[in-house]
């Protein structure tokens, strides 16, 4: 908590306040060049992935970054196969539904724990918080047995159910609802709104930045989730993108241009989203990272 308070202001500062202007001396130029070089190195794996996905098989083993004759042949091949298309749709559906559920339930629980006084409040809060300490890997075996028992194996529900609510999201939202003045809620009550309406029409609009941050984290987390979808799915049609890609990589064996195409298909959507909402996402990451 102390960490959170101390750095609370700085997520805004990170984006708005500029570092003090320094004269462009030699040291600053060298520093800039080194950081620029490092940054280019950081994106090289992504650049090579995309570049290779645009190469013909015979060119794959060249180390040149720009393909000599770029082709989208690999994409046509991989997408015509149909499986990637299905996995893509699966991942979209699962990540979207899970994100919506988290936004609704985490904020509802966070709001209740923050704004209501009722017996059992503290116990519920501690109980939810304590689940942060339980690693997913400990739960996969019981979840698998549960899914087997209820016939959830190999279904969307089976993939989604463990992540519909998260303690991290609940805690994040609770922190943000603290910033909503009680007077607003009291005023709405006097206006005759019921508690559900107050939550939805008064409190929720005031924590939009937090909702956005949570949405980004949950969506990205589910888009890239691997171990649980790997365990719970059996049939190729039910795979999510990471699980499908993992099997595809094995099967394509040495056709690296095809593997890179598959990797690019599962990476490019999140990269595009990032490039569009960059400032927004970085702010969200700082907020979520420091409050979670």
């Amino acid at each position: 908590m102390a960490v959170v308070e101390e750095i609370r202001a700085s997520s805004e500062a990170l984006l708005s306040a500029k570092a003090p202007r320094k004269p462009a001396n030699m040291g600053q130029i060298i520093r800039w060049l080194l950081l620029f070089g490092g940054g280019i190195l950081m994106v090289m794996p992504i650049a090579y992935m995309i570049s290779t996905s645009l190469k013909w098989p015979h060119e794959v083993y060249n180390v040149n970054l720009i393909p000599v004759e770029p082709t989208i042949e690999n994409y046509t091949f991989v997408l015509e196969d149909g499986r990637f298309y299905g996995w893509f749709i699966n991942s979209i559906i699962i990540a979207t539904i899970t994100t919506i559920c988290n936004l609704l339930f985490d904020s509802l629980v966070g709001y209740t724990l923050c704004k209501f006084r009722f017996p059992g409040r503290y116990i519920i809060f501690i109980a939810i918080l304590s689940t942060l300490m339980i690693p997913t890997e400990m739960l996969v075996i019981p979840w698998y047995l549960m899914s087997q028992q209820f016939g959830w194996l190999d279904t969307y529900w089976g993939i989604m159910f463990p992540g519909l609510m998260t303690a991290f999201g609940t805690f994040l939202m609770k922190q943000f609802f603290e910033t909503v003045p009680d007077d607003f809620i009291e005023a709405a009550r006097i206006d005759g709104l019921n508690e559900l309406q107050i939550w939805w029409t008064v409190a929720m609009p005031l924590v939009k930045p937090a909702l956005a941050a949570l949405a980004i984290f949950v969506f990205l987390g589910n888009w890239t989730a691997f171990i649980w979808p790997l365990i719970v799915t059996n049939s190729v049609e039910m795979y999510t993108l990471p699980v499908g890609l993992s099997g595809f990589g094995d099967e394509a064996d040495v056709a690296w241009e095809l593997i890179m195409t598959g990797a690019a298909i599962s990476t490019i959507p999140t990269l595009i989203v990032f490039l569009i909402f960059q400032r927004f996402i970085i702010r969200g990451v700082v907020m979520a990272g420091l409050k979670g």
Binding site: V3, E6, I7, S10, A13, L14, K18, A19, A24, Q28, R31, W32, L34, L35, F36, G38, G39, M42, V43, P45, I46, Y48, Y61, V63, L108, Y111, T112, F116, R117, F118, P119, I124, A127, I128, P135, E137, M138, L139, I141, W143, Y144, M146, L164, M165, L220, T224, F226, P242, L245, S246, W256, M260, A263, T267, L271, F274, Q278, I282, V285, L290
Partner: protein, 295 residues
């Protein structure tokens, strides 16, 4: 009936109405499975046959399993290599990036981009980099410079760092952003005062910046430690032909759990391994939280 309740009582009704479904969820999807995992760890069960109580047998088997100790060592190697390396690199980047204005946002984007990638996709990209000549990028570069080849994923000594590298790479952007937020939270006046006193850059770094960054550092250490202790996606995908190989040189605890449970179907034994993972995570987090409290 609802109308006759006092405002306070109405609040209680609403609160529990809001919490009903979540309480059910946390009970059934979080707490019951936790208890169940601990219970199964004391049973002998191969999923098809009978569930028999076996007492501490699974834990004794684990203690005597040489593979477990190899895996235990690997898991801590990921932690002990990954956490300090990523901490130092991300601090150096954040410290310098913080003092630049020219194209600041663009540089920050370059460093952050890998965080948005999927671990599975990037594991395959790095796996390709590591292939021997004439396939892999790294060895092709080495060959063009006339440097002898390096065995990355096929060597028992190089495989673990090779698998770790993309994990460090992907997490770096997040840590840089958090460090920069921490650096911005340090009041400028401290630096002004130091400048007036004519203190050297190194002293400022060690006497002002680093001590005041302690909460941020502890947060990053806890966060990345838990991540490295739970490493799985990268290892699994970079060694699919022989998960955790060569000769278990890269196998972390989570992969051993996955193998035992879903390849060997030895549920009791796997559950005991998850309990050990839980205890390790708990101890590591508690130690780090203790350090945080001591500040």
């Amino acid at each position: 009936m609802y109308r006759n309740l006092s405002i306070k009582q109405k609040q209680i009704v609403w609160a529990w109405a809001f919490l009903a479904l979540p309480v059910l969820f946390y009970g059934v999807i979080r707490f019951y499975p936790t208890g169940n995992a601990i219970l199964i760890s004391f049973q002998d069960w191969n999923l098809l046959g009978e569930r028999n109580w076996s007492g501490l047998e699974n834990y004794i088997k684990l203690w005597n399993d040489p593979v477990f100790w190899k895996v235990f060592k690997n898991t801590f190697l990921y932690l002990l290599l990954g956490t300090p390396i990523s901490l130092v690199i991300s601090f150096v980047i954040a410290y310098h990036l913080d003092q630049l204005r020219f194209m600041h946002g663009f540089l920050r984007m370059l460093y952050f981009l890998p965080f948005m990638t999927s671990a599975v996709a990037m594991a395959w990209v790095w796996r390709w980099f590591y292939q021997p000549v004439p396939i892999g990028l790294f060895n092709n570069f080495l060959a063009s410079l006339g440097i002898p080849q390096i065995e990355f994923l096929n060597s028992t000594t190089n495989a673990l760092p090779s698998v770790l590298a993309p994990a460090v790479w992907a997490g770096l952007g997040f840590q840089v952003i958090i460090f920069m937020a921490g650096l911005r939270a340090i009041p400028r006046s401290y630096y002004e005062a130091a400048r007036i006193d004519g203190v050297s850059t190194w002293t400022v770094l060690s006497e002002i910046t680093l001590p005041l960054l302690k909460p941020t550092i502890v947060f990053i250490v806890v966060f990345s430690s838990i991540g490295f202790l739970r490493i799985f996606d990268h290892v699994f995908n970079m060694t699919t032909n022989n998960p955790g190989g060569p000769l278990n040189a890269t196998k972390p605890l989570v992969l051993m759990i996955y193998d035992t449970a879903f390849t060997g179907y030895d549920m009791g034994y796997a559950a005991a391994q998850t309990v050990v993972l839980f205890v390790i995570l708990l101890v590591v987090s508690l130690i780090q939280l203790r350090i945080l409290r001591d500040r």
